[in-house]
Amino acid sequence: MFETGLTLNDLKFMGQGALITLQVTAFAVIGGTLLGLLFGIIRSQVNPWLTLPLVFLLDIFRSVPLIIQLVLANAFQAIVGLGLSAFTTSCIVLALYTSAYCTEIVRGAISAVPVVTRRAARSLGMTWGQDMRQIVFPMALRVGLPSWIGLTLGVMKDSALVGFIGVFELLKQSQTLITRLQEPMFILIVAGAIYFLLSFPIARLGGQLEKRWREND
């Protein structure tokens, strides 16, 4: 028969890790999306030459390994003497990392709205803000949402790296258990199953929304 030393308490221990993973993901996605919206609107509305520094900066977040970004941020906050916890640092880094990808999604979604539609809105007397809120937003949302959900799932997976600077998320907790119980395969499969359980509902929800919206087109 199959036997394991994994007790209910150990599962709870992993559950705590999963909770941290969820928290980091939630903070990163919320912060990253807000920043991404801001940057995305700037990128699609302002002269491309003026946004070049922003593009370059965001490109760095996408071209340097996340693990190095985390280590650098952690070292930097110690140098400056901010005294942030590893958890806060990881949330900030992941939020910036998310915003870099979110900017591209927002920009793509906004540029998918036909220019004539926006001109029509403006010529009906809508202000720029009204046009953005009531015309561009609903149309761009349908274009951008699938990739945004993909991004959210990606950030959840990437949040596994924050264990490297000492945040006790799911994979780090699993590693602690592996060291104690010496049953790597089984514990890792449990951890993988938890990741799957966390990401599957989000992926499903995204698929549902996409399907529902397609019917209305």
Partner: protein
Amino acid sequence: MFNYTFQWKQAMRGLPEMLDGALVTLQIAIISMVIGIIFAVLLAVARNSNSRLLRAPASMWVEVARNTPALFQIYMAHFGLGTFGIHLSPFVSLLAGITFNNAGYLAETFRGSLRAIPSTQLRSARSLGMGPIQAFRLIVMPQMFRIAFLPTTNQMVWAILMTSLGVTVGMNTDLMGVTQDWNNRSFRTFEFFAIAAVIYYLIAKAVTMGARLLAWRMFRY
């Protein structure tokens, strides 16, 4: 301003070793991409086939590769396989983890591009007397690679960035590993990792630019 003196000179002494590490990083990324592409083509074909026996394992591979962290996959290769008495070196387990990941992601890319090729092309190739493998190799594959070229180069950049995860399983010859080694000896964390970040950035940019140039050169009519 800071109560800290940056020691860039000291960090620069690690540069030659780090550049050697960058070569190892590139080497791992390239090998993993080559093997990954081969597996990905097989997976894409298997997922499009009518036989359930072929489709199910291929789907599972792709789902697991896409829905779990890359770090998890590397851990699986390094620690997980130890359960069966297979003890891989950090290099091999890192390579295995990234290859598994690459194959999963690329399989989806290739499947999408296979869909974009009209099925009439395969049928006309067959009616011209080509065998199934010949038709796939000579008619479908070239078009598939053309459509999938840019996504594939994106995956290459991902593979390069993913190699940095090797440090968590004890890899100490690639760029990240060498940097971590120097860091452990000198505690100049910020300086060393800043240099490593610049090198990673330059490699990633060089690959992207090279790919664009290559695409422009190869795919013009």
